[in-house]
Assembly symmetry: D2
Homo-oligomer: 301 residues x 4
Amino acid sequence: MALGRIRTDLALETKEKFEEDNVEIRGVIIEEDYNEEKDIRTTTVKIETENGAKAMGRPQGVYITLEAPNMSVPDEDYHREISKELAKHIRKLVPMEKELTALVVGLGNREVTPDALGPDVVSNLRITRHVIQEYGVQSMGREYANSISGLVPGVMAQTGMETLEIIKGVVDETKPDVVFAVDALAARSTKRLNRTIQITDTGINPGSGVGNHRNGLSEETLGVKVIGIGVPTVVDAATIVQDSMAHLLDTLEESEKKEFLEEMIAPSLHSMFVTPKDVDETVKRLSYTISEGLNMAFEQA
Amino acid sequence: MALGRIRTDLALETKEKFEEDNVEIRGVIIEEDYNEEKDIRTTTVKIETENGAKAMGRPQGVYITLEAPNMSVPDEDYHREISKELAKHIRKLVPMEKELTALVVGLGNREVTPDALGPDVVSNLRITRHVIQEYGVQSMGREYANSISGLVPGVMAQTGMETLEIIKGVVDETKPDVVFAVDALAARSTKRLNRTIQITDTGINPGSGVGNHRNGLSEETLGVKVIGIGVPTVVDAATIVQDSMAHLLDTLEESEKKEFLEEMIAPSLHSMFVTPKDVDETVKRLSYTISEGLNMAFEQA
Amino acid sequence: MALGRIRTDLALETKEKFEEDNVEIRGVIIEEDYNEEKDIRTTTVKIETENGAKAMGRPQGVYITLEAPNMSVPDEDYHREISKELAKHIRKLVPMEKELTALVVGLGNREVTPDALGPDVVSNLRITRHVIQEYGVQSMGREYANSISGLVPGVMAQTGMETLEIIKGVVDETKPDVVFAVDALAARSTKRLNRTIQITDTGINPGSGVGNHRNGLSEETLGVKVIGIGVPTVVDAATIVQDSMAHLLDTLEESEKKEFLEEMIAPSLHSMFVTPKDVDETVKRLSYTISEGLNMAFEQA
Amino acid sequence: MALGRIRTDLALETKEKFEEDNVEIRGVIIEEDYNEEKDIRTTTVKIETENGAKAMGRPQGVYITLEAPNMSVPDEDYHREISKELAKHIRKLVPMEKELTALVVGLGNREVTPDALGPDVVSNLRITRHVIQEYGVQSMGREYANSISGLVPGVMAQTGMETLEIIKGVVDETKPDVVFAVDALAARSTKRLNRTIQITDTGINPGSGVGNHRNGLSEETLGVKVIGIGVPTVVDAATIVQDSMAHLLDTLEESEKKEFLEEMIAPSLHSMFVTPKDVDETVKRLSYTISEGLNMAFEQA
């Protein structure tokens, strides 16, 4: 079935798509883990070859996905568990053996509720760089402290600049060891919205995010390691229609299918997104969970 | 074609639905007017009988719809024209022969971008009641001044109260002559989003608005005249799927149809909405256009 | 020394003023308690007679003040201690022997940083009334649950209505057992800013708060018990000048003093307030501490 | 009278200080103009020599101050006049003979009401750079169009970075011809708050602004011309006390004076600011007036 490009920012969903179609991809390794007590499912997709990258439509690297059905529910203890899991994975991708300087970038538009995740994460972070630069590490009351800075670059309609231009400028000027880029993502399935976190060492890819960055943020474009952290908060409106129709389309001839898809999915749908009605509370809570995860990762001795 | 209840807050869309099906409804009068120069289409739907009300699924009264394709575009002069049109219709529905006391209520959730229209409108209004109460009408520098108050009640998840309870309390206490209730609406078609204003003397009906008020705001429930002003800013996600499939479904048997509809439209879709990606700028601009329309209506001598 | 009316919303500061002047007031009982470990000082001022009320310039009742120098510092564990103390005092003033229905009102202007405390508190509360009304207490997963509603009425410049009118309307309509009114207060001394919480069973008094309510919120005006909870976040600009000059003025003759005060304190100063530069973070943190205190008070079995 | 350093960001106030003391400064030229009809006073201070710069405590360059008593009043037509005046002065400082690329930077903390001026200005600007880069100047519907970008860098407590570092990075990357830096300023006198605009070709100087930038933004530090545009929205709390006491102090001996100043102005006052109670509406209005002035300056043919 060739429904055209189903847009998803989750490597996990691309993988599932292949499984549905019973296709095996070489160069892609998948590990799954389910913590029954915490009800957190962890899937690691490793794209190890150029071939795997081509098939998956995304760069070589590691994509870790935490799925937790209760992530969108207000239970403080449960969110703390997720923050811990997130911190653990971050520290695996970025070993903090020595003191680290990290820039956390909150991508997205703080004026659009489902896209405000990145900016919200940065506003809950414990920023330390200016204190360490002024008074030294010992002023932090700990022997060891990472130097953390934060940036909310805004979106192109607000700035007239590519997000990459702004971040590249700031990276060149302040020279962090690593960039963490936090973004609201688009999923293929509404079931995943606000209950999935993807962490990847490949950064943020073009076409990714609610606001659709044109140029990726990666080691290649920024010159330093980039860890991408994302939560799907929207589904493209066109995707929802395609998905809902999938079974129905199976009853039709191939030529009929194509015609229907072209006719039925109004072009305007491609500039629309689908999001849950309670997106405000959920994004607020999730952004706190992620900033706590980052705070934990940065502050562990 | 019985697709079940297509949800729309626009009387205009209900009317169109009947036209599509070539059904004529008694007790409903429709007038259309197109101003070519300004590119504003005005449709007035008058529901005059109990029968018409039943067929249309909404109370007897007048529903005026302004459609202006450029309403979502940033052109200050054009928006001023729409404000003027709006003011004109408001003054027809609420003749301001003597000094009026009006309460403008901004319904919706200011934390959810497409639902912030009502709260944004109230924050741009020229509030006068407290000045007139303290210093008299003459202090306004005009011979004649309406007494305008404003309220942003919030939504049930934030307050634990029905919006009706809050407004009824405030109306009983402050006794305005008329209530204007401004709300973000749900349309059936994405084409109408952010380019349509509905003004009605029936108030706000149950099931209306992005946040789905359970109890209507009307003369019956509040004891004073209620003018509802709304702009469709979202489409229910389920509606979009239904609509996209309409033609496809025509190829199927009636029994197959029902089955597909039940299977395909995931229940979770009913708690989702579809909205344009640039909803932040558009809602900000439209809320300004509407508050200017209200300001003009209130301030003309 | 008669510096005219030194404006303060803290009963504690009025008391100190008398102590400075070595005046003892009959009908006013004072208890002090200092928890060294937690570094929290608790002062209870009980105004027990009409005479005491006159001398203190505020109604008969209990005024509890928590002073904690670290309250303005970001230490989560410490803030939890303060929330606990607050919950303890609330439960003493409002015994929760049976299920309670409480309305929490967030006074102040959410657009002015030091005045946003009240609105911020309400947005962090766990609201339950709508759930209990719809699904019953058992739906809360506990045997026992208080019915909590919340309201952010706005300020007169935004609404054209007295805050009292709005709240009275909502109280008459929804009939809570008790109202909690949370407000940003004015202190006399900058030392108290953002490190003091006052809890009182007399509600909110006229002239109180950053925005200066003209009509008090009390059992007398609302018909139900009103607990006032406030944090001083500003000092009146005129007060700061007066206080800074106190010693200097002592060197002058009484007639010179009066002249200086009239000349020196520009009338415009009375429409100004003084606030710390880091007021944004501090108010955010304190509002969270207070809503947690309220959540704890409401949820203990 | 040596009250120590009276802090003001307005060259005009420094000049007045010298006049009070009957001191004439060489190398500083002053021109005044009063438009009676519009009630706008324009003062141009030109610091032309190194000596003048030393005396005035600020770099050589042009400082234009517009004073308009009604600037803090909501009169749309009057604000348009101020926007026009502002546009006129901008075009004198930055001749727009050929197409210009300009970066407008909104300094300050959007979470603190009086410091939100800069961020608010940027959010009302018409940003064009991304459209011109993608589709060319002709896509703007005009023969001629300046390329405008905007940036809200945040403050050091939020980012951990010097504002200069962020802006320098972005300037190096995007290479604008000129930077406009908009900031909320500190005045010495409350009379000037929210009714004065200062425009200078010297950029933003250290110690300037509500948030106190440590490193200036100037041609020297950024490598491109920097126009500073500022409105005083606060007065330092310590300044208000000093100023109120000025006359009183005149009655004292020099040695007494010093003692009083040291004792009376509590160190905590230096971390406080004074601002009008209606700062929210005023800053919103002024930021709109300034962005309109910039829009006009950029869009005139």
